[in-house]
């Protein structure tokens, strides 16, 4: 039998449905792979061996009873540790939540369980999803399977590395400023940020509520679309969830796989002309655009004059929302409590708890957000950033009157060595240069591998209009049909 960990999610589901292999065997193969390589990769913060095998047994029992199973039944999956999983440790990679076992499931986790997917465990990330390298995890960084001395991207580096290292065929990430797409790009995998409001935030530990978007990570576009279709859709428990049917992303990926983009108009963002990006990344990107042209797409240049202000707007809006959201970590209802010795007041205990429980990047952003929201600075910073958000949205609206999708490199640089961007936090923020505009607008975007630079993966980003997630899957699948799937060196 071929190595089960090398199969796609679609292939795994088909062979389980056909009875050629049991869901338990599939789960065990992936648990064995984790045991063999995760000491070096460190993609997982928690491996739920017992829970995974129980879920797999359940799928096998239901299949034996002749029950009709969903398109991902029995397929193993890794979940970013920022989503609440009932009874399974959930930390957001922070000391302040060490050992917390949520009393409920996030909506997305509930849907994954209902679909018969088999959750292997929880993946590493930058603390509270703030970062682009996993170096801000309180539990140590994840290593990129392409080069263990380099970052796997962030914040969802654990999810991307888990699938790149064949520890899981699928993973869930969350994207606030690029945390699904940038890890996808630097690990040679596919990562999609759905339309904001297209996937539920219920049970997602909030970082920046107006931007946070859960989405799929996979090794190929079809698998990402399958996972997208399982998790997406209206959730009455999330007041920002869009009460509309999600477009058929699976059919769109299948259509794109034919490799025909005749009639599709693709826009190149003039302002993303390579400034601040590595030449090797731009070269791979230009080759990929050339490939899209050969597939029949019409490529035109589009100016989005306010995109250059997206990064500053984001680094005012996201920390502002974070400073408010993270106020809930006060040592009262869950998580760490420090200094409760009868000598300190409640307020002192809160300050000592937060000081001990939060890492440096989280503290920086809380302080930055508190500053941007304080009277006297509010209009100049947070208020102005919200106005710029309107202008960026107008840039997108006007662009999509002229083209079907916009493309850019996903991230300006390939996976960088550990420690190279931690001393100056702003250097880390630049990793999100190309991904952030979409978050401010709310539309969907996907990163798909488009080649190598210096032997490391480069991703191409496809941005689409709000609730037109199907468009990006079509173009991504078409590009994949000519570029192919990237395979990292053996671990």
């Amino acid at each position: 039998m071929s190595d089960l960990t090398r199969l796609t999610a679609a292939e795994l589901a088909a062979t389980i449905a056909a009875g050629d292999v049991s869901a338990v065997e599939v789960a065990q193969a992936h648990l064995d792979r984790i045991a063999a390589v995760d000491e070096r990769v460190h993609a997982f913060l928690h491996v739920d061996t017992e829970g995974a095998l129980a879920a797999a047994r359940d799928v096998d029992t239901r299949r034996a009873a002749g029950e009709e199973l969903g398109p991902l039944a029995g397929v193993p999956i890794a979940v970013k540790d920022v989503l609440a999983t009932k009874g399974v440790p959930t930390t957001a990679a922070s000391r302040i939540l060490e050992g917390w076992r949520p009393p409920y499931d996030a909506t997305i986790v509930e849907r994954l369980r209902a679909a018969g997917t088999v959750m292997l465990g929880k993946t590493n990330m930058d603390e509270f999803a703030m970062g682009s390298s996993t170096e801000y995890s309180a539990y140590g960084a994840t290593n990129n399977p392409w080069d263990l001395g380099r970052i796997p991207g962030g914040s969802g580096g654990g999810s991307a590395a888990a699938i790149a290292a064949y520890e899981a065929p699928l993973a869930i990430g969350t994207d606030t400023g690029g945390s699904i797409r940038q890890p996808g790009a630097v690990t040679g995998t596919v990562g999609a940020k759905p339309t904001y409001g297209g996937t539920s935030r219920y049970g997602l530990i909030a970082f920046s509520s107006s931007l946070d978007t859960p989405g799929p990570c996979a090794r190929n576009v079809q698998d990402a679309a399958l996972l997208h279709s399982v998790i997406a859709g209206h959730d009455p428990r999330d007041s920002t969830s869009i009460p509309q049917a999600v477009p058929d992303v699976v059919a769109a990926a299948r259509l794109g796989a034919n490799g025909d983009l005749t009639g599709v108009k693709v826009g190149l963002v003039s302002e993303f002309n390579g400034e601040g990006a590595e030449p090797g990344v731009m070269a791979a990107f230009r080759d990929a655009v050339e490939a899209l042209t050969k597939l029949g797409a019409e490529v035109v240049e589009i100016s989005c004059p306010h995109f250059q202000y997206a990064l500053p707007a984001y680094y005012l809006i996201a920390p502002s929302e974070a400073s408010s959201n993270l106020a809930r970590f006060d040592g009262v209802r869950f998580g760490l409590r420090t200094g409760d010795d009868g000598k300190h007041s409640l307020e002192e205990v809160m300050s000592l708890t937060r000081e001990a429980g939060f890492g440096p990047e989280v503290k920086r952003r809380i302080i930055l957000g508190t500053y941007a929201l304080s009277s006297g600075y509010y209009d100049a910073y947070y208020g102005q950033a919200q106005k710029v958000r309107t202008l960026i949205t107008r840039d997108f609206t006007s662009a999509f009157e002229q083209v079907d999708v916009l493309v850019s490199p996903t991230t300006p640089f390939v996976a960088f060595p550990f420690g190279s961007r931690t001393s100056d936090p702003y250097q880390m923020y630049l990793a999100d240069l190309f991904t952030i505009p979409t978050n401010l607008y709310g539309g969907p975007a996907i990163s798909v591998p488009c080649g190598l630079s210096e032997g490391l993966p480069v991703g191409l980003q496809i941005m689409a209009p709000t609730m037109a997630d199907d468009r990006m899957y079509r173009v991504a699948a078409a590009l994949e049909s000519t570029v192919g799937v990237l395979t990292p060196p053996a671990l």
């Binding site: 920002t240 209802r333 102005q384």
Partner: protein, 99 residues
């Protein structure tokens, strides 16, 4: 000129309930200054008449039907608490003795 002083950072840390150390203040003040200088160019955008966007989903007053559904049990809600007593969250004293 620095965009933010060490004293301002200390004040913001107090407002944020973060008992930061002297050493952290030194580091954060410099780093936050770099970040603020970098994001300050947002002020270059002429946006006086532009309405702000707080959210990309144009939904207001989202209601659901008033149907009773099971919520967390008391035991479940208290399961992660650092300290609980008599079915409630226990916290350190809030008021001074003499108050």
């Amino acid at each position: 000129m620095a965009a933010i002083s060490r004293e301002e950072v200390a004040h913001l840390a107090r407002l944020s309930r973060l008992a930061v150390t002297e050493q952290e203040l030194d580091v954060f003040a410099g780093q936050l200054d770099v970040i603020l200088q970098s994001v300050a160019r947002i002020g270059d955008v002429a946006a006086t008449d532009i309405p702000p966007t707080s959210h990309s989903v144009p939904l207001t007053n989202v209601f659901r039907d008033d149907v009773v559904v099971p919520g967390l049990s008391q035991e479940g809600a208290l399961s992660g608490a650092p300290d609980a007593e008599d079915g409630r969250f226990r916290v350190p004293r809030i008021l001074d003795e003499e108050a």
